[in-house]
Point group: C2
Chain length 412, copies 2
């Protein structure tokens, strides 16, 4: 793609209210732009990363047999009255009236709607299990929106819901989603820990959170350094430095960013909203539900926190907006541009996503923008172009060397 057409409004300075590295860099690199407190536009470079994360999620959830659908953001009050949450949910629930004065809310979560969608269809246990997911914009009127996409009022989530006949089947799906989440976050370049958690306003019997360790995380978690999953045990009464009674390791407390959560809902919604099936014994029983969320915009933010330096971003391989950034030093120099365009075309033909900085900007400003944007491989076409050579940088290794076109096509 040509950078002149991409719209990447990089900034010299971060906005004054940006407190954390990811928020500062994502604004400066032209990934996002604030529209109102906690409400952002995803600009082309940032949205490309969002779509990569969504693709990974779809691939991993399709693998475990979940089906994608799309539920509405506008939800009528009557469904929330059925579950009892219209009165219980606080001011975080954004409410509005339509032109006929009927109450609606903007979905922060979709247990009610998904239950309405499946309950007419469910008659026999033979229709189970069902596993449905969606990728959608959610709304939550946070008291104090902060940290950019970390705690926003409009954000992108993947939410999924399972319907099973038995607790054992729920356990099976809970584990399938847990494994899929581990795979998803790993592919997004994130190291996560699983931590048991409160069920909160969602309700249900049991819940786990997927946490990315980070000094800007908002949750305090306790875990043992040598054991990834020890955090899944109840360590809440232990302190930094204590011995873990389960695995004997040393307890550590740290901050975490919650990027995903999974809940065993049980029959909370199926009972109140009358979603029942007839089992093999001919009895009407409420279906057993699970729900499973991933904060997609927050995953993008966590990845920036984990991988960026103060100078600029650096994207993990599977979610980078482009693989290669080609910088011709002087777009008026025919030798530079011929070599740059040949490389651009040849790499694109190999199916590699390439961005070429064809703007009439000074070299210094192109380098600064490129540092900010964090595309992992950079090819500078400049004074060595007359010898058919370019400067190639692998930013994962911080290595730069002179290479020919053939060297580069061989490398990829």
């Amino acid at each position: 793609m040509k950078q002149s057409l991409l719209f990447v409004p990089t900034l010299k300075d971060a906005p004054s209210d940006a407190e954390v590295k990811s928020h500062k860099l994502m604004t400066r690199a032209g990934l996002i732009k604030q529209v109102a407190a906690g409400i952002y536009s995803y600009l082309p470079l940032g949205y490309r990363v969002i779509k990569k994360i969504e693709k990974i999620i779809r691939e991993e959830l399709d693998k475990i047999g979940a089906s994608e659908l799309l539920l509405p953001a506008l939800q009528p009050r009557d469904l929330w009255d059925e579950s009892g949450r219209w009165d219980k949910y606080g001011p975080e629930l954004m409410r509005l009236k339509d032109r006929k004065d009927r109450d609606f809310c903007l979905g922060p979560t979709h247990e009610e709607v998904i239950t309405q969608v499946v309950r007419d269809y469910l008659n026999s246990y033979k229709k189970l299990p069902l596993a449905l997911y969606q990728i959608q914009t959610k709304f939550r009127d946070e008291m104090r929106p902060r940290f950019g996409l970390m705690r926003g009022r409009e954000f992108i989530m993947k939410d999924a819901y399972t319907f099973t006949e038995t607790e054992a089947d729920l356990d099976t799906w809970y584990q399938k989603f847990s494994d899929a989440y581990t795979a998803i976050f790993k592919r997004c370049g994130l190291k996560t820990r699983i931590v048991s958690s409160d069920v909160g306003q969602i309700g249900g019997d049991e819940a786990d959170e997927f946490m990315v360790m980070s000094e800007v995380g908002e949750d305090l978690i306790t875990y043992c350094t040598d054991c990834d999953y020890a955090a899944n045990q109840d360590h809440s009464k232990l302190n930094d430095g204590d011995d873990c009674p389960v695995c004997g390791g040393t307890i550590t407390t740290a901050q975490g960013i919650e990027v995903g959560n999974i809940f065993k809902l049980g029959t909370k919604y199926s009972e109140s909203m009358n979603a029942k099936v007839i089992n093999e014994d001919g009895q009407h029983i409420p279906v057993i539900m699970g729900c499973y969320g991933i904060g997609i915009s927050r995953t993008l933010m966590a990845s920036v926190e984990q991988h960026a330096t103060d100078k600029g971003l650096l994207w993990p391989d599977e979610i980078t907006p482009f693989h290669i950034h080609i910088l011709p030093i002087n777009v008026n120099n025919e030798t530079h541009m011929t070599l740059a365009n040949t490389l651009y075309t040849s790499l694109k033909e190999k199916g590699i996503e390439v961005l070429i900085d064809d703007r009439k900007e000074r070299a210094g400003s192109k380098f600064k923008d490129s540092d900010l944007m964090g595309i992992p491989y950079r090819i500078v076409v400049g004074k060595d172009a007359k010898n058919g050579q370019v400067e190639f940088t692998n930013r994962y290794e911080s290595e730069t060397s002179l290479k020919t076109i053939e060297d580069i096509l061989d490398f990829f």
Copy 2:
């Protein structure tokens, strides 16, 4: 994909309020489900078609050099005060207050937000042209939501915006989008006509609509039968049967479904919202804007109106949710299932999207569901399986014949 996991809640009868063929069939075939008046859930089969349409749109707009981003649904009142539309827009604009009593609306269109996004960045004419698009859920509080997805209150749109220095550049982009639209609708299996139209609440200087001829269309249009683009002329004062003063053909009046529109906005938003650039002469001039919409959920609906019979759907090749539907007559018969699974695996390996009806349902009910769902090629695995043969139907041609696995793999 296995049908038992897909969630396709087919219905024997259409809901009583469904007036038109597409609404009846889309509900009966388990593509959509109503949540409130004019508000629908897209179920897995319907959402697969939506994603196919989105893919086509992305491919065609990427070709003309437009970049994708995502703007928020929640828009603060101050932007709409700048453009003057907060007061002018009627009760179709859904309005709400946040917890701090600040006014917001749910975007029916995004001229204000996109102008806010680009105006800080635009300083020189050198930054132009810009062409940006998004695929997003929109909101409009219709007085009388009807015809399923045709006139909904929450719907999926592609909207695009161009920013240019001169009217001539706007004309170039307007034509690029017009050509891209023709390609998009053709790939979606739709025959469209271009009709000049009112600028309405969007405003601006000139507008055209892309119309699908249909008896359930809500707009009356006049055109000459022999000339696709004659509708682009002003025929509004002519009647059915008149001679066209431009091409001499016979004027026809018919109903049309509007699936796309393109507007020359001029400087309406850039002047009121102060989006200016410095031109080559050093003068500050407002940028010239265009905007370009496609109703994605409505395109799905129009495709069903144009292709379905009263018995069931029939999907055009590029937007079909699956290419092949495999129906093993008896899932307990080992011969049927071995052959069906071999076909399923072999076709999938060729990159073909296959749905296999692995449900323990009676054959009659499988056939009925399959007729409704409208996947173009059907393979029935039944009594001839013992001879290695299956019944193959090409529903575009209404042809059925006995074939071997090899015949089928050769055909695709």
